[in-house]
């Protein structure tokens, strides 16, 4: 260990790099093989979260930071899940209003 900062073997980064390549290939193949429905969504989300986790934990060294900072950075974004939840219900409501009250057909041709 040096006195000034993160020091890990290069092989660790190469392994994570390879893993990220594999995961990206997998998520590309989800589209290539035209997976649909819940299978597609769950695969996309799983690969996305795995990639994001590897980047944050290893490349950005979050795994070795002090917990006081880890929590200060990783907990606030959870508020965004509330925003997403609110916007999903709002968007569903707008969609239904458009169909029910403004007579917009779901498969209306684009102007």
């Amino acid at each position: 260990m040096t006195h000034s900062g993160q020091q890990h073997p290069i092989s660790l980064y190469l392994k994570i790099w390879g893993l990220l390549f594999v995961l990206s290939t997998c998520s590309y193949l989800v589209d290539y093989f035209h997976f649909a429905g819940y299978l597609r969504w769950s695969l996309i989300i799983t690969f996305m979260l795995l990639k994001a986790g590897l980047i944050v934990a290893i490349f950005m060294h979050m795994a070795w930071e002090r917990l006081a900072m880890v929590y200060a950075i990783l907990v606030p974004p959870l508020c965004l899940l509330v925003l997403v939840g609110l916007m999903v219900s709002e968007a569903d409501y707008i969609f239904l209003s458009r169909v029910l009250f403004f007579g917009q057909g779901i498969t209306a041709p684009s102007p």
Partner: protein, 235 residues
Amino acid sequence: MAAHSAPPTDHPTLAPDASAAGWQGITRDWSSDKDAFKQVPWGKAMMWIFLLSDTFIFTCFLTGYMAVRISSTEPWPNTSEVFALTIAGNHIPLILIAIMTFVLISSSGTMAMAVNYAYRRNRGMTAALMLATALCGVAFVSMQAFEWSKLIAEGVRPWGNPMGAPQFGASFFMITGFHGLHVSIGVLYLCTIAWKVLRGDYERSGNYQNVEIAGLYWHFVDLVWVFIFAFFYLW
């Protein structure tokens, strides 16, 4: 915290007051006066806080995209086909985006190694790897410029497009444009730090934290792309 006067000791095992682990340690850090982020250099803490704010901005964009996509009564354009390319007679869906993803991940890999070499005080390797990272960034932005030109030529505009829901163009240009801006700024940032590494600025102070801080920014750009790739291109 004085990053310039003394080399910071941010390795937990060397820290005198890092004995308390888990929640006890967190409470102790946060309830102590003056600074909560002990053994974390200010530059790094501030970069993390900036990235946190940037997370909120990008999530707002992606949430807005989600909201207009759910509420649209017109069919959303099939991104798999919109971003397909015909290479050597083969029609390959989404291939350009896949290449862009691999380029950006590779740049993240070289950046992580640059940080490693910086702490080993290997200036040549650090600068070379950072410049390789910047080159990957330039390649990424160039491919994005190609993609934008292609879509604009096909008639995609922020207010409409021939393939379906008009909100597609607005979401596309807003999200990828803001991300491309981040990549472009990152390239300039990396070049600046690489130049300072080569010039020996950090050799004099013995403090190579700035390379890691630049790395944090660059990995974040890659991180955002992971989410854009999943939600905008694959969904």
